[in-house]
Subunit: 470 residues, 3 copies
Amino acid sequence: MEKTCADALPLTMNSSEKQETVCIFGTGDFGRSLGFKILQCGYSVVFGSRNPEMSSLLPSSAEVLSYSEAAQKSDIIILTVHREHYDFLTELIEVLNGKILVDVSNNLKINQYPESNAEYLAQLVPGAHVVKAFNTISAWALQSGIMDANRQVFVCGNNSRAKQRVVDIARTLGLTPLDQGSLTAANEIENYPLQLFPMWRVPFYLSAALCVFFFFYCVIREVIYPYVYEKEDSTFRLAISIPNRVFPITALTLLALVYLPGVIAAILQVYRGTKYRRFPGWLDHWMLCRKQLGLVALGFAFLHVIYTLVIPIRYYVRWRIRNITITQVMAKKDNPFSTSSAWLSDSYVSLGILGFFLFVLLGITSLPSVSNTVNWREFRFVQSKLGFLTLILCTAHTLVYGGKRFLNPSSLRWYLPSAYILALVIPCTVLVMKFILIVPCIDKTLTRIRQGWERNSKYSKSALKGKSDI
Amino acid sequence: MEKTCADALPLTMNSSEKQETVCIFGTGDFGRSLGFKILQCGYSVVFGSRNPEMSSLLPSSAEVLSYSEAAQKSDIIILTVHREHYDFLTELIEVLNGKILVDVSNNLKINQYPESNAEYLAQLVPGAHVVKAFNTISAWALQSGIMDANRQVFVCGNNSRAKQRVVDIARTLGLTPLDQGSLTAANEIENYPLQLFPMWRVPFYLSAALCVFFFFYCVIREVIYPYVYEKEDSTFRLAISIPNRVFPITALTLLALVYLPGVIAAILQVYRGTKYRRFPGWLDHWMLCRKQLGLVALGFAFLHVIYTLVIPIRYYVRWRIRNITITQVMAKKDNPFSTSSAWLSDSYVSLGILGFFLFVLLGITSLPSVSNTVNWREFRFVQSKLGFLTLILCTAHTLVYGGKRFLNPSSLRWYLPSAYILALVIPCTVLVMKFILIVPCIDKTLTRIRQGWERNSKYSKSALKGKSDI
Amino acid sequence: MEKTCADALPLTMNSSEKQETVCIFGTGDFGRSLGFKILQCGYSVVFGSRNPEMSSLLPSSAEVLSYSEAAQKSDIIILTVHREHYDFLTELIEVLNGKILVDVSNNLKINQYPESNAEYLAQLVPGAHVVKAFNTISAWALQSGIMDANRQVFVCGNNSRAKQRVVDIARTLGLTPLDQGSLTAANEIENYPLQLFPMWRVPFYLSAALCVFFFFYCVIREVIYPYVYEKEDSTFRLAISIPNRVFPITALTLLALVYLPGVIAAILQVYRGTKYRRFPGWLDHWMLCRKQLGLVALGFAFLHVIYTLVIPIRYYVRWRIRNITITQVMAKKDNPFSTSSAWLSDSYVSLGILGFFLFVLLGITSLPSVSNTVNWREFRFVQSKLGFLTLILCTAHTLVYGGKRFLNPSSLRWYLPSAYILALVIPCTVLVMKFILIVPCIDKTLTRIRQGWERNSKYSKSALKGKSDI
């Protein structure tokens, strides 16, 4: 059911009962595309234009009239004109009285004007029922019938009958109308198509900054240091070895940053003894972009996994292994098997795999279609319990990876410790704070606070009352 | 369009036409959160409380009155009180007559009471139009505006006008109302938020049991046996080697268990000669959790793939390969290339990869948003045809893996065969039964039975009639 | 909320207000299943049958009457009879006048009849309000309550009140009704369940053809050639080595074919100087299946990644590495480290990983539930910007893989170049054309054309007008 009436030619309607007329003001590209599409779906279309005789490229079966003539032919007028040119409507106030006026306009910038275009239109033509709609649909999508992207049409307006008419037209066009309530929602609807991943910006810049920092940190330790002291050319490490240090560090840090704000919020609540004081703004914003932080972290973890799995294919690794074997043969040295090395190597790999597995699970449950099938309790279980388990496994993976070398002074180069040690700071902090918070006495206090209890409440009975009201 | 009116302060409404009043009974945490949210979205809010003068923490712009005063101010009353305290409503029966009464309550256990809270409420206040809604939304989600989890509000009620009012409010709050029909659906709606993955329980416990069994089986064969006979310490195998035997076995067994009930059902139908007798309860339940069984199997297959891919990175494997090379050099023994070994090794790997690829494809098509875009014929094609192909490939992968060692008595340890041989029992049984069922004469009978034909029907013409009716 | 009233027995309704009666014509399998389900959900059901006394297997609580008697009992009649037997309705025209007649029928082939079954029915019984619905639901799904597949019920009809009644029933049955507009949509609704991945056919056959061609190409070069000249048995290469050449080549070619039509369309627009002439049909079709082409390409890329990662596990590879080491030890030859080889090997692997990562990202954003949460600007950013970056990375991966051997005459066998060189032809063409198109002067022209400007327009002001109209 992908394309309702997408390829159909304008229908020669035989069901005489339906032939409704839709009026479109403006003959620009979007107006034409929308008009053509509406025609295809069995409506009559009348265009309103400043210069009706000059209008080209319009569907031949559509009439082109002056604005006021066109408006009289239909009770619904779609306005495909830029906001700056709305003035001409003031002359048509009488004709437009009681009609449905659909505002499809978008702005060039977010919050360009003090009020939304639709609300401005409603002030300009107070007698008309203004409905905001269709601004999220592109002319190209209408023309081509390709609507892989969003088919959602956000509709808002103060008159529910008018809104219903627009919803019906949108549905006939094969789109998915979504009622957004009264005309005050127009502002948000107009800002929507101008956004470019607003929630992803902070996680993206943060991870970029982390990547750049750790990249140069590793370059200093692993490329410049050996070059200075041993005249060794390790530049080839830039391609795989160093990214494969930077990516897991970034992933682990971002994953810890997903759980840090929750821990901070809990500490704040315990400290304040109430949950009824707003968190600072930065904490609120941080909590709102946790999902995006987690998904970026998953991306880096995925890269780390593949970069690790290709290790044995690399020329350098094959060369080194061959060299070790040859040296050993030449030296006729014995090569005893170390069970502890096998344990260390196998367990850090195993911890990493299990951590990644849970991480992928978290990522899948954050898909909109999956998270819509779970209830609140299940969602909290997955995102909180499984999330912390993931953090524990990934931190343990890094700790065991360090193994015997961990905090060994000989691994310092120019007083810089190995990069993975820096990666452990935030995760370990988060885990320690979390373990403190789940100590029974603190956990109990926190639970009571979250159920509405207040330490310093003057209404001492509020906790009691919480037992009868939800 | 994530958060309609999430951060907005209570609006100073200028569109005088809309200012509807919503009454909330109860000033608990959920009541306050909901009231605050409703206020933000442009409604007036009146709280009804036992002790109006004692109620703290309520939004300052909301009135707090006694129950009966508050109820008179609005035609819609949201009841945020626990079911145990509904009695007080009996005194308000007259005031509530003809009003919309929204039940938001949840219970502590599934099916705690003989009838749902909403139905109980409807009996208590027969004159009111009871609507069940909002019970799936958490107070915290309302407060924070973070609604990554379910935004779905299940609504049910016997009066469609009342239902529509609640649906409108839910939509204005940025939620997704879903009409669930009459008030008899309330029971299910109330049980919904108490569930914790009910369909996943059997697959989860089953796979855990399989894992534990095969884990100890492998520990006996690969850790205890060599320790007893050769004093060899192979405990490091617990980290990767043994999980990498347990996971594929569990995955293959679970995958076979996905297709076993369908085969059993077909055999039952052929044996009974009719499809109009109910299957036994256990078979019905088994068929209902096939999707979950398959996804758990996919999880284990995914783990098996990663555990296999890290093999060459492991210390033990590198050590062993080095040792083999050195031994060979020392012995100056020739190392002839065996084409049959290359064939065996390459084909079991290749079969495994293709099986895993199809398995991932099956997993992706079971995502709700994907399965909603395919029709019944396509869904059956993917889940049945591709599913059996996956089972065939994975079984063949295991068979070829066994290769020459398969059923070799020397691989018995303490009379225990290799674990992968046990893994083959169910898949091979399923495949053999399936191949018998698609033998033309049986397949034809089965198809006729599924089209409604009955072997021993007294109405011999029923098959004939099936040709004119769908 | 998976199964509304799925397991419930026919309810003993106590809410006397609702007990509506639904009439079902036809007692075939679908009719019975639907009737049983409707009964369970609290409606009364009356069956209409040719031989009421002969009808078996019907729910005992349902009445079975003759057609005209049954029709009089209800204002809604669900017709579960094949189109070929609709004639009997002509005798019932008077009884059916003003009633809602629901057509649930499907055909055996797409576009089997000149008009849809529902439209044919509307002509046959002009006095009834014909609604098309329920044709996408299978009898088995209704019986078992298992509705993992599509729960969508497409509803269309010319009378909106009649449609609303059917929508209500569908919702009570736990299905998802989708209003598709007027009865002209019935044709599409009837074709929907007969489709088997129509959009996937071209990508599937194309990729199969590419696979077969490159498979035999590689067999000639890598199996037959060495056999002819060196009597070497390399047949084992058929299992992994050759697929691992064929899959990446197919993936890269298909990925390039995703972006080729866009480039061709842009060239056509620049050449024609207008965007208002239709593209040739083949180009339109090609553009419509780009998403499917890309997903098939992603499947091959995924296979390539796993086939590459298993390389070090293969018997052949282990044997060869061991042999190289042994030969080197025997010859006591030095094995100098080549930085340039390390650079080449590491960078082609790294490029491939990054390309695959972006490719997976593209795949995830094409999931329906994800693409519904992004706006048009974000969708274009991901699919166009990130898509071309993916193509650049994958092409570079192949180019660097060739490295020094690239276009080396010694790699020709029977004048056939290495297969990966053929794989580069289309991607490089697409990239060169794209780079030409983003040269500022051409890009500016193209942008103006896409905004509605025309080079040879007789209305020279149309560009100007485009500034006031959207």
